[in-house]
Structures are given as structure tokens and as C-alpha cells.
């Protein structure tokens, strides 16, 4: 942050900066349902995504670089997701893992399920499957790494800024969940 969001670095510096981000993706594990099991499986001995530089389970959102939303996001849980996302420092990436988080999946007609996490947070990679195999997550991570390797941070921030008013939870559209507004800040204090 600081310089990186304002300046377009020349090629060698940009390559090194991108390389660092590419191979150091600390994961904030947002496991919500059955997909979380596959996500955990991807971090265990058999698939072991530390190989790719994805350090599993960052201690908290403040140290994370990547948010993997795995499972059914309900409207009740949506504010928590939004909050975790906001706590992650930029530059941050989101992987939507599985049909439910992609767009509701089997719960496409449910009254309580958020139809896609991209309504709440900007998503960088969608991994299809119900649930996807651990390898599918690895493939999604490879896609993300490929994108990080090519991207320019300045453009990343510009795109993020442009996309920022897009999510539903701005003050103009109060979505009522569980008897209260998502933007209700009173939940923040205890």
C-alpha cells in the first residue's frame, strides 16, 4: 500500500512485487458448509496447498491475503462475511468455492440464502462444483496466481474502487436480515 496504488511500477520491480503476492497467499478460511471440508482437505497432507505458497488458515483477517468462501452463505451470515472481508488489508483476493457461494446452488429458491457471495464481496475466482474437489481449488488458486502475476496493482485498486459501490450493502439499499439492517453498526460494539 502507499505507493503501490498510485504508481505503475516498471517491469522488473512490478514482476518482483507481483511474484511476492503470487506466492504468499495467506488464506482466511471462511468455511460455511460441506465445501469447507474440501477446502480443509486441500490444506492437509494429501493436497497440501502450502506447496503453492498458500499458507493455510491465517491467524486472523488482518494477516490474510485471500478469502475463500466455501459453502452456503445465508443472509444472516452475510454481514459477518462483509466484515471479515473489510478487515483484510489490501491487496486482497476472494475465491468463491462451490455452487452455493457462486450463486446459491441448490438453494436457488431459498428465502434465507444469499444468491452468490459476489453480491457481498468482489470475487476474483469462481470454482464450480458441489462440492468441488480439492484439486479444483488448487486449480482455482493457480488461476488466481496467474492473474496476480499479470496484474498491475494500480489497476487492481482502480477496479476495486469502481466495484466498491456495487455490493448490495451500501447505505442506500438497506437489506433487512434477521430483524435488523446489515449496516446496523451497533453489532460492531460487542
Amino acid at each position: 500500500m502507499g505507493l503501490t496504488d498510485k504508481v505503475n511500477f516498471p517491469q522488473p520491480a512490478k514482476f518482483i512485487l507481483n511474484w511476492g503476492r503470487k506466492y504468499s497467499l495467506w488464506v482466511m478460511n471462511f468455511g460455511l458448509a460441506c465445501c469447507a471440508i474440501e477446502l480443509i482437505a486441500a490444506s492437509t497432507s494429501r493436497h497440501d496447498f502450502i506447496r503453492l505458497g498458500v499458507i493455510p488458515v491465517a491467524h486472523g483477517p488482518r494477516q490474510a491475503d485471500m478469502l475463500v468462501v466455501a459453502g452456503t452463505l445465508t443472509d444472516k451470515m452475510a454481514p459477518a462475511l462483509k466484515r471479515v472481508y473489510e478487515q483484510i488489508p489490501e491487496p486482497k483476493y476472494v475465491i468463491s468455492f462451490g455452487s452455493c457461494s457462486n450463486c446459491g446452488g441448490p438453494f436457488w429458491d431459498s428465502y434465507s440464502v444469499t444468491k452468490g457471495v459476489d453480491q457481498i464481496v468482489p470475487v476474483d475466482v469462481y470454482v464450480p462444483g458441489c462440492p468441488p474437489r480439492p484439486e479444483a481449488l488448487l486449480e482455482g488458486i493457480l488461476l488466481l496466481q496467474d492473474r496476480i502475476g499479470k496484474e498491475s496493482l494500480k489497476e487492481h485498486y482502480q477496479r476495486r474502487e469502481a466495484a466498491e459501490p456495487e455490493p448490495a450493502f451500501t447505505s442506500t439499499v438497506p437489506i433487512v436480515v434477521g430483524g435488523g439492517s446489515i449496516n446496523d453498526t451497533s453489532i460492531r460494539d460487542e
Partner: protein, 341 residues
């Protein structure tokens, strides 16, 4: 001749030593971090980093560092801004100062420095009270920890800081007692002197208890598993580091690994015969020291892979009920031996 003049200038030598110590301070923790990644992975039947830097992921921690400098620097709204930003420095500076006094080898045979024979050798600085320096300076880190925990305005941070302080208060005592028993046996407080005194036998052999006490207390001071309650990531989300992002968090991590290296080095100097080797005396002293530091650091990683976290009350009980009495008895025994023989 120019080299002779260069090395006879004490300031030039000191600057050179400082640079060497600084490089060691920056590289050793990175190397240890990589070894921890790989060691933990293989102890869990995994491979660990493989892609960063292509060859077995050797550049994983460099990638982490490059990433840390790009991350957004968040200071929470409710935080005490100045203290929050100062805390990582307070933690890392004492740790880096400890590296200054680690002796890696014996004093040079021919020494031309005007400051005297004590000035040249494989160490940054030879203090007369080296061991006291180490113990005093490493105790300062906990102030940084308390500052970080309190200033973050986060309950997890505060709990972590309080746990850390409680742990330090409990384990500083056995640590100092175990170390002072060695100082008594060697008859000097200088780390170089203690290293020299182990020419005949390593100090670990007469009383292995104090070595074990020292290692346990060091683990507790470093908040390493199985004594990582202050940073327990599964309960209090990394304790005092909860709110730290980017390079500040990186500094905390660096200080943790630098702490492992430095305390391992001190343990090697105090107990494991410093630069004195066995069987193969032609291997130079500094390599012996490095090898022993590596072995002890690996033990720290090994313990992390093996044991679960203790409970807070078990930790306190262990310090006050077992370690301190044993350390006191040990001092008494050392004293008796010193007087009798």
C-alpha cells in the same frame, strides 16, 4: 599492508562486525523459517512450500516479505496510534541487539587491535557481563508485546499481552537462575569466557537439569509451542499481533524467529560447549557453533510439531512449583561443588 591498516582501526573492524551481525540477523531467521516450513511439513507427511522460487520453494519467506511490504498498513480506529506503531520496533530491537554478543568462535590467535585481545574474534562485541546483557535486553521485548496488546484496542490482543507478561514473569526467574548457575561454574559473566571455560567438558553434562530448565524457560519466553498461549492462534487469534498487518506483522514474525536463533545460540554457548567440537577437531569453531545452533533450533521446531499447547494454569504451575525450586537446588549444588573442588 592496506589490510593490516584497515583491520588495525577498531572502528573499521567494529563496522565490519556490525554489518556481519546484521546480515546474520536478517538471514538466519529466514532460513529458520524455511526449515520450520519444511520440517513441520515433513513431520506431518506433507511437502511444504514447493513452488516459490521453483527449487523446493526456497524463496517462500522472501515472497512473504515482498508481500508484507505491499500490504495495507491498518491502524485500528480505537487504537492508541503512536504506541501501536512503536511496539514492533520495541520488540525487534532488543532481539537484534542480542545477536551482537553471540560468540561464534574463540578469540583470534594473533590480534592486532589496539583495544586488546578481547576485541577480536568471531563475535560482535565482547561485554564483560555478556550473559546479563542478554537476559536484560531480551526481557525488554515483552514491553513491546504489552504495548502492542494494549494499544490494539482489541480484547484478544489484551488477553494475549497479559498472558505473555504472566508467562515472562514466571519464566524469567528459572531462566536467570539456570544461566547464573553456569556463570558461577565458569567464574565469569562474559559469554566468551563461558565458552572458553568449556574446553574440558560441556556444561550440559554435570547437571543436565539446568539445561532442560533453560530450554523450557526459553521456549516459554519465546512463546513457542507448547508454551504459545500468548499467541495461541486457535483461541486468541495471535494475541498481541491480532491487529497488525503487513510489514509490522512481518517484524513481529522476524523477531520471533530471530529470538529462536538468538536464544538457541545463548543456550549453545552456555551449555553445549560453544565452539568446542568433538571427534573432528579440525572443523573450525564457528561452524561447530552454527551447527549446534541449528540443531537446537530444529529441536524447537520438532517440539512444535509434537506437543499440544499447555493450559495457562499448567504453565504457571510448572514454573513456580517445579522449575524454580529445581533451579534453586541446582544453584546450591553448583555452589557446593565450586567451593569443595
Amino acid at each position: 599492508m592496506i589490510f593490516y591498516h584497515f583491520f588495525s582501526n577498531p572502528w573499521a573492524v567494529f563496522a565490519l562486525k556490525l554489518a556481519a551481525v546484521f546480515i546474520f540477523f536478517l538471514t538466519a531467521p529466514l532460513f529458520l523459517g524455511y526449515v520450520e516450513h519444511k520440517g513441520l511439513a515433513h513431520m506431518q507427511s506433507r511437502l511444504g512450500p514447493m513452488e516459490a522460487g521453483k527449487f523446493h520453494g526456497w524463496a517462500q519467506l522472501i515472497a512473504d516479505g515482498v508481500k508484507f511490504i505491499q500490504k495495507e498498513d491498518i491502524v485500528p480506529d480505537a487504537a492508541d496510534r503512536r504506541i501501536f506503531m512503536l511496539a514492533p520496533m520495541i520488540v525487534i530491537i532488543p532481539v537484534s541487539l542480542v545477536f551482537l554478543v553471540i560468540p561464534f568462535g574463540p578469540a583470534a590467535v594473533s590480534c592486532h587491535a589496539p583495544a586488546g585481545a578481547g576485541a577480536c574474534g568471531f563475535w560482535g562485541e565482547n561485554f564483560d557481563v555478556g550473559i546479563f546483557f542478554v537476559l536484560a535486553i531480551s526481557a525488554i521485548s515483552v514491553i513491546g508485546m504489552l504495548m502492542a496488546g494494549w494499544a490494539s484496542a482489541n480484547k484478544f490482543s489484551l488477553i494475549g499481552a497479559i498472558r505473555g507478561a504472566a508467562q515472562l514473569i514466571a519464566y524469567e526467574l528459572p531462566l536467570v537462575l539456570a544461566a547464573s548457575a553456569v556463570a558461577m561454574q565458569a567464574g565469569t559473566l562474559s559469554l566468551v569466557g563461558i565458552g572458553d571455560a568449556q574446553k574440558a567438558y560441556w556444561f550440559v553434562f554435570p547437571q543436565i537439569a539446568r539445561f532442560i530448565i533453560f530450554v523450557i524457560a526459553s521456549l516459554a519466553e519465546l512463546s513457542r509451542p507448547p508454551f504459545d498461549m500468548p499467541i495461541a492462534d486457535s483461541e486468541i487469534i495471535f494475541g498481541h499481533m491480532t491487529e497488525y498487518t503487513g510489514i509490522r506483522f512481518g517484524l513481529f514474525l522476524l523477531s520471533e524467529y530471530a529470538g529462536i536463533v538468538s536464544l538457541s545460540a545463548i543456550a549453545v554457548v552456555l551449555y553445549l560447549g560453544a565452539w568446542h567440537g568433538f571427534f573432528v577437531p579440525w572443523i573450525p569453531g564457528p561452524i561447530w557453533t552454527l551447527a549446534k545452533i541449528g540443531a537446537l533450533s530444529f529441536l524447537v521446531i520438532w517440539l512444535r510439531a509434537t506437543y499440544p499447547r499447555l493450559r495457562e494454569d499448567q504453565l504457571q504451575k510448572m514454573a513456580w512449583k517445579y522449575l524454580i525450586p529445581i533451579a534453586l537446588v541446582n544453584i546450591l549444588l553448583t555452589m557446593i561443588f565450586k567451593v569443595v573442588f
